[in-house]
Symmetry: C2
Subunit: 363 residues, 2 copies
Amino acid sequence: ATHKLLLLAGDGIGPEVMAEVKRVAQWLEQAGLASFAIEEDLVGGCAYDAHGVAISEAAMVRAKGADAILLGAVGGPKWADVPYEARPEAGLLRLRKDLQLFANLRPAICYPALADASSLKREVVEGLDLLIVRELTGGVYFGEPKTITDLGNGQKRAIDTQVYDTYEIERIAAVAFELARTRRNKVTSAEKHNVMRSGVLWKQVVTDLHARAYKDVELEHALADSLAMQLVRWPKQYDVIVTDNLFGDILSDLAAMATGSLGMLPSASLGAVDPATGKRAALYEPVHGSAPDIAGKGIANPIAMIGSLAMALRYSFNEGAVADRIEQAIAGVLASGKRTGDIAAPGMETIGTEAMGKAIIAE
Amino acid sequence: ATHKLLLLAGDGIGPEVMAEVKRVAQWLEQAGLASFAIEEDLVGGCAYDAHGVAISEAAMVRAKGADAILLGAVGGPKWADVPYEARPEAGLLRLRKDLQLFANLRPAICYPALADASSLKREVVEGLDLLIVRELTGGVYFGEPKTITDLGNGQKRAIDTQVYDTYEIERIAAVAFELARTRRNKVTSAEKHNVMRSGVLWKQVVTDLHARAYKDVELEHALADSLAMQLVRWPKQYDVIVTDNLFGDILSDLAAMATGSLGMLPSASLGAVDPATGKRAALYEPVHGSAPDIAGKGIANPIAMIGSLAMALRYSFNEGAVADRIEQAIAGVLASGKRTGDIAAPGMETIGTEAMGKAIIAE
Ligand SMILES: CC(C)[C@H](C(=O)O)[C@@H](O)C(=O)O
Ligand SMILES: CC(C)[C@H](C(=O)O)[C@@H](O)C(=O)O
């Protein structure tokens, strides 16, 4: 089958790392391993520069028609002063919301060859393999009211609203429990029920769902602040962590950084499976951001972006064997000592974005 | 002068570590170094057990009359099912709100003798000395509406509201800039302006105040998720970090854990200076929580609690020299190799709570 893939390279290092995805996709096609119908479009600051919005309606139509979307990264200081509704992040947020990509899966894996790249001690991160399941279409990211009001006398009032309904918590918790069953069978649910009513409801709904349908999975509850500490102290105690949109934003970045593999980690944002077609909307993107400080230099690590293609092959296109080949090639390149700057130990020789892409293909 | 000190030991390890504060205070009085009028009362789960509320009106009157409050810790699984309004944390939150303790200062210091106790590499934490300035009376902790509503059909909706007004941001930013001037002259302000309107206002108000009154201080802005990562990667890049109530909750725990000194770190929560009396409401407490898992065993580390007394002597009682003596005694005890379990390297001999309190006095 030919897979309809939409590439949204975005801003900063996005286009550089996406170029390596194109290189890999092209090679897969030439080798007869997969067939793609690739479209490309703009999202983020580059879309604002071209169209005055963070994502155009045409791009949204393409996104809805694609089997999977690969996204590079959005944002950068260049767009610090654009109107709030048109800021680069608004494009990504609209994709998440309109496609109802409620389940964001962020694996935090410590690659053995990179265990020394972490600021954490080797014994703390070696062998680490946890998965953060972040709710992505609710909470304070989207709740209304979300306003800034002028109160007069030089005073303004800003309001953001965290809203969660039972069904939103239930569906993300179900994803976490299902994934735990394919892993080490443990779920840790994080909230702040001691200060937030949404935390109270979150804890209750997760507890009820567990009792009803997932008693075979070990469930533990944690406060988000305490979990952040434990992720630094001894992250290997976790298997699957499920949490809301805002805590998930922070905790997943934290977990990724702790592994020392930030430039290595892909993520998947998934919608519900359509019972009629068996399909689900899906967007794959690196955990890292647009890294404006190194953009344009050809030194960004393309592995998280190429790994995102592998994830798409596995989860959206049912091509697990091809995904395996890509991931083995990545592991092989690392084992051979090839490194971009972000994952190199001090004193190690480094290679650029393009050389890394080519090395993975060669492997 | 005799200092009016209110001790609220609270729950879990609170009473154990507070007992050592009493021992130190008594010794200071006997040595003629300070004079206290000490009162004691209940807060948290123990107050609920006694009075059915997390803090009694009588205790609130005492709190308002004290020159400073020392608080142990609140909460624990025993009170998981008490009504939301009476949960242990509500006592602490009421103290913060009613006394308008808007400025929470949380130093994250890596004690040289403990650099190996961190899960971070020695070179990452050695010499670390940063200060988190957390807004403590606003944001999602207190904003209304804060509700759970029954929608029927088994569905509920939970709402929490993050509210910030200009003046709230301005006064906490001013505290951060003032403190930076006494330190390394750098402030990092953290928010999520890319998804939260309160983040937009936060960044704007901090930027304006800086331009108006603190141009001599270096100011940098960071997204809260990215700051969490950087706190793990290379925390020594920071001096003073200023942030809102919820981000401050997470980031300060994280910073404290990274230092390896969690059981060591006191914090101060301060109100505004009353221009008439020159006084400010103040509450001092350890950064660590009630640690129900080790409560009652006599093994908790009392240093953060004793350090909180030192902070009270310095900031509320103007007894900097006495505070210095306490802090030097703590450093001396550590240098002599005495450790409670939380800060001991593997294989090291450990001592209990009481022995640690006595060792500090002896020193
Ligand atoms: C770019 C930004 C809107 C986004 C978020 O906050 O969700 C990013 O930090 C992420 O984690 O994907
Ligand atoms: C006990 C709890 C309400 C409190 C908070 O969330 O502020 C604690 O975590 C803290 O950081 O002081």
